[in-house]
């Protein structure tokens, strides 16, 4: 236990970084997910193709490989981002592909009649999406989106590999001194579990408030 209590400040900083990384990345991934899901159902074939390519590329590449490429390959062509920013961009882009698919599944649950009615009253594609289809589609997939957010939280630990001192890296550093991996990583694991439970609770709450009962 002392291995943990002696280093609460280091572990606390790591925890804060993990939370920051998760929140900023979730917002970014959600926005990207909505845009890509919209592309995938757009009436223009080129836009649909762009959406499909995005999802296929980022769902089918390992996140760690993307992180390492972004951090170490981009500087060779003269583009260097700070490490935290790099982690946010890469994880958001990666998770955005998964969120896009969840959101598209939600859109598919919206009845065809809804879209037809929206068109019948003269709404454009953008308007019917914004006022009719997305609000209903998103509310149908709150639970899957919550699950992806939990996976996103766990994936932030990969940022440790590219120099971001988040919770996993902080635990590594503490263990380096204390040499008690079981105590240290049990503590870090419990912190991740707690964060995941919070996301789960928020998801459950939103689900109860917003889900459409059909």
């Amino acid at each position: 236990m002392e291995a943990l209590t002696d280093h609460l400040s280091a572990l606390g900083h790591g925890l804060v970084t993990t939370v920051e990384l998760t929140v900023v990345t979730t917002v970014g991934a959600m926005l990207l997910g909505i845009v890509v899901a919209t592309l995938r159902i757009a009436p223009v074939p080129l836009l649909r193709a762009i959406g499909t390519v995005y999802v296929e590329v980022f769902q089918n590449l390992p996140l760690l490989a993307l992180l390492v490429l972004f951090v170490f390959a981009l500087p060779t062509i003269g583009i260097t981002f700070p490490l935290f920013t790099s982690a946010v961009i890469v994880i958001a882009v990666y998770e955005g592909a998964y969120l896009a698919e969840a959101i598209r599944a939600g859109i598919n649950t919206v009845g065809v009649g809804q879209a037809e009615a929206a068109r019948a009253i003269g709404l454009t594609f953008g308007q019917s999406l914004r006022h009719v289809i997305l609000p209903q589609g998103l509310r149908a997939v709150i639970q899957p989106i919550g699950n992806i957010c939990i996976a996103l939280l766990m994936n932030t630990s990969l940022a440790a590999a590219v120099g971001v001192v988040e919770l996993t890296q902080a635990a590594n550093n503490v263990n380096l001194v204390e040499a008690q991996p079981i105590a240290v990583f049990t503590g870090a694991g419990l912190a991740y579990m707690l964060l995941a439970l919070i996301i789960g609770q928020v998801t459950g709450l939103l689900e109860r408030r917003l889900a459409i009962v059909r």
Partner: protein, 322 residues
């Protein structure tokens, strides 16, 4: 036509397989180190002609007598099994790096492990499990491996969790900078600079006292840290002198400045309860130091980038915690 009537046929199985691979890789990377949970490698296929250390060194290396290996001991179990299991690395040049062509693991740590295997079994049969620095103590406590050969620095805290035979090698932290940098001449010049370190290396804890006011960024592997230095993410790279020297040899863009500013004593990590095995390994170390085998291995590996001949091997039991 409705926007919702698009056809969404997709080749799901391909995507699923790739996602599964991605998830597996992501899980493997959770320790922050890409090689930390790599699968156990098959045993070294003997010692081919392209090993760094000449075959003759192995042929001449000592083998324990039956009297040294009492019934019921760890050594006897290893001899019966026919190979030694160790925890180590595959990506540390000159210490333990896997040759992509032959598959053998070459370097000082790897060769020491092979020599210990020869001492116990009579042939240098080693099975290496690549482990992260974060799991060494747990692996030894669970007896998942017989020993850890991984530039494992002996510290009193670690000695409360594991037993250290040795030290079998001493080195120290040094400073690497980009070749065109003339502002940093030793560790004293690092105050206020951004310093790259290897995650889970002694530099993480040694740097704040050696260079107060320096900012640290840590990378999972030595090649990543080197790359980060060359890409100017930091002003200097603090790492063990031997690793820096091999890095400087491979990368003309960097150089090592000043002398090592710490003394690291590396030990062979063993299960803490097994005092008999520790004594046995210490006796073997004394033997290979005395007969010159140690010096030959050093010259063939680390000695290839360090000027001067082999140093005097460390005195067994001299480090606090060994």
């Amino acid at each position: 036509m409705s926007i919702l009537k698009m056809s969404f046929t997709r080749r799901r199985s391909l995507a699923l397989t790739a996602t599964a691979v991605a998830v597996a890789l992501a899980a493997a990377g959770c320790g922050g180190d890409s090689d930390s949970s790599a699968p156990t490698l098959p045993g070294n296929p003997g010692l081919g002609g392209d090993g760094v250390v000449a075959q003759s060194v192995y042929d001449a290396a000592p083998v324990a007598t039956d009297a040294d290996i009492p019934a019921g001991s760890t050594m006897e179990a290893i001899r019966k099994r026919g190979y030694l299991t160790i925890g180590g690395s595959l990506d540390a040049p000159l210490l333990a790096q896997q040759n992509p062509v032959s598959g053998t693991i070459e370097g000082f740590d790897a060769d020491m492990a092979k020599l210990l295997a020869k001492y116990i079994i009579g042939k240098p049969e080693v099975k290496t499990t690549t482990i992260g620095t974060q799991t060494r103590e747990a692996m030894l406590q669970a007896k998942s491996v017989d020993a850890v050969f991984q530039t494992y620095t002996i510290t009193p805290q670690r000695a409360t969790q594991v037993a250290f035979a040795g030290p079998y090698l001493t080195s120290g932290l040094a400073v690497g900078v980009r070749k065109d940098d003339t502002s940093i001449k030793s560790v004293k010049d690092l105050a206020g600079k951004t310093v790259i370190v290897g995650a889970n290396t002694p530099a993480v804890t040694a740097l704040p006292s050696a260079a107060p006011g320096s900012k640290q960024i840590a990378f999972g592997t030595d090649p990543q840290a080197l790359q980060a230095l060359l890409q100017k993410r930091g002003d200097a790279y603090v790492q063990d002198f031997t690793l820096l020297a091999s890095g400087a040899k491979a990368n003309p863009g960097m150089k090592v400045v000043g002398e090592p500013f710490t003394t690291e004593a590396y030990g062979i990590g063993l299960n803490r309860e097994d005092t008999q095995f520790k004594e046995f390994v210490n006796n073997w170390l004394k033997k290979i130091q005395a007969d010159g085998t140690w010096a030959k291995v050093w010259e063939a590996t680390l000695g290839s980038v360090v000027e001067g001949g082999a140093p005097t091997p460390p005195v067994i039991g001299s480090a606090d915690g060994s």
